[in-house]
Symmetry: C2
Subunit: 345 residues, 2 copies
DNA sequence: CTGAAAGCGCTTACAG
DNA sequence: CTGAAAGCGCTTACAG
């Protein structure tokens, strides 16, 4: 037969009803073990694969999860973070034969529109929300749509939106204490986008740790994660007097740009300047010297998020009852490498 | 109404049949202009969005395109290439309200299995094939499935598989001629994976250009696009005697790793060593010196591929007739930057 | 131009 | 344990 086999074909071949085939295929009660065996054998032999649209229509499930990314394409491409995250999500999803539908968006309104459309079309069963903002409207708007979702980031204050996050405070303290122990007293930071939630956590984390250590000159300047802005800010830091002896960058791309500026200005790393990167991608090991960085398992972060969403899709009753779970992932830890060393006065 | 509106609801409100609603919504003949207006107004007012599964089931179209990526997650994350490509594809697809379904796979067999399943499930209408190999089984196997596809890469020899590609020969010549003009005579290359089709085109492109220029010592060593392998090979090149005065890398990540090795060995770039990268991502402008590289518009490459696939999906008759189109994109061109300079003997 | 009906390929109560 | 039937929400010939 050249046509795709349907359950009707299997039913006919097995001499049973379509309903029986459906029960057998889905491992539900309603058919005897012997009949089930026979039906499954025939289905396999015919190379049967259920039509997703038909199944979706009657079961009203899309067997797919959506991911809308609102970042400029060049930033997405540049940061290994996103592909690692996607890879982690995808591994869990495909294991449960869920699809992952991706769309890039520009504005927040466009992003919400995508969620509305996906949900109205029943193209996805749920979504994963990235890049949480301060006062993120999605935290209220997405649950309000009735669209199951998991926020990848936090912690957030919400009874309705589940989230997977890790602590951003502790690593800030760890970095500053490490640099302090190396003798650094003039430390600066090139921070990420100020409206991103985790940036604010780091702002306060660094601020508190700096105050505790008496690092009065500690300062942060916000950037957009691109190399250009990071280079400009680093240049400003390094040409000020007295210049910092250590700079912390909120991502790896900016740290590499900062290292480039140090080379450009003839400032030796780590002899005259220590550099610490956040997000320990393989990029940090490409450079010379290699970059000291805060390591976290981004792939695990993605897979944990997908896992939580799948669990909530599987048990909508539990998902509806009680406050939404908030899962904390292991905190990032410092991996000292070649770019940090003792401070010189 | 709390339930999603269906065409039946609209039909009832408008006092027409469901068929009429369908015709009006899809802009097909069969309803008068006045009726159409009225139906559309009601649909808008009700916030109607067609159920994708129902539409897919009756129209037997998924309104989605699949992309299976067979690369280690860390390579995918590291190379801006893929996200830029995806971004280009996605922009065309979402403009036509097609979804993009992504899956990461490990083996070729797994990849083919994904295509078979997607197609059998009718989860996608077509696929985009990346990373063409030498004697790639997909070139025959995917058209044999009846699954519409466009190869992103080539040129390939196939009457059945459409492709979008760009020439890899000319840039090789351009690079070597440029370096030759700068006085370089000992040139080495850190190549990409040897079984990838474009690597073989570059192998021959560089080989021919080197022969033409009389660069007898020109040599290529194949690597896997990671920084580790590139660093190892670069170290070998730079510690040999006489060492090359210029090294060409098949991607940006390897070029950055190579630059790191030069720093590590105290070899000044570009004074003592020139470096050229392939794939001009923003990464090439992060470093100091900035990397001379071969620029191509990866986003356009992706969007052109998606466009071709959409065109073939829209007109299956034309897609079935005649040899599959083979679209050539603009050739990469050299962007000289700080990492190349005159050769020193 | 319009309506009533069948059909896409599944799932799922509901009777036997 | 099994079968016959209705239904999911659309599209599309086929009559009027």
């Amino acid at each position: 037969m050249t046509r795709r086999p349907t359950i009707a074909d299997i039913a006919q071949a097995a001499g049973v009803s379509k309903g029986a085939v459906s029960y057998a295929l889905n491992g539900r009660p309603g058919v005897s073990a012997a009949t089930r065996e026979r039906i499954l054998a025939i289905a396999t032999e015919m190379g049967f694969v259920p039509n997703r649209a038909a199944r979706s229509l009657s079961a009203s499930t899309a067997q797919a999860v959506g991911l809308a990314l609102r970042r400029p394409a060049r930033v997405l491409g540049l940061e290994p973070f996103f592909m690692e995250l996607i890879s982690g999500m995808e591994s869990k999803l495909s294991a449960e034969s869920f699809g992952l539908t991706i769309q890039l968006v520009v504005t927040q309104e466009e992003e919400l529109e995508v969620y509305r459309r996906w949900w109205a079309e029943r193209r996805v069963d749920g979504v994963l929300l990235c890049d949480l903002h301060v006062d993120d409207v999605r935290v209220e708007a997405v649950p309000a749509l009735g669209l199951p979702a998991v926020a990848v980031g936090g912690p957030i204050e919400s009874e309705r939106l589940a989230s997977v996050w890790h602590d951003d405070h502790e690593p800030c303290a760890e970095v500053l204490e490490y640099l302090y122990a190396l003798g650094h007293r003039r430390i600066a930071r090139v921070a990420g986008l100020p409206h991103l939630l985790h940036t604010t956590y780091r702002d306060s984390g660094f601020g508190e740790a700096a105050a505790r250590l008496g690092l009065e000159s500690f300062q942060s300047i916000h950037a957009d994660y691109t190399g250009e802005q990071a280079a400009r800010i680093t240049r400003r830091y390094l040409t000020s007097t007295p210049r910092p002896t250590a700079i912390v960058f909120d991502n790896d791309v900016m740290a590499i740009a900062g290292l480039g500026v140090a080379h450009e200005l003839g400032i030796a790393v780590p002899e005259e300047l220590s550099i610490v990167a956040w997000d320990d991608s393989p990029l940090c090991r490409l450079t010379h010297p290699t970059l000291t960085s805060l390591t976290r398992d981004v792939t695990a972060y993605g897979s944990r998020s997908a896992e939580l969403l799948l669990a909530r899709l599987k048990d909508p009753a539990a998902a509806g009852a009680g406050p939404a779970p908030s899962i904390r992932c292991p905190t990032a830890s410092l991996s000292p490498r070649g770019s940090t060393g003792p401070a010189v006065a």
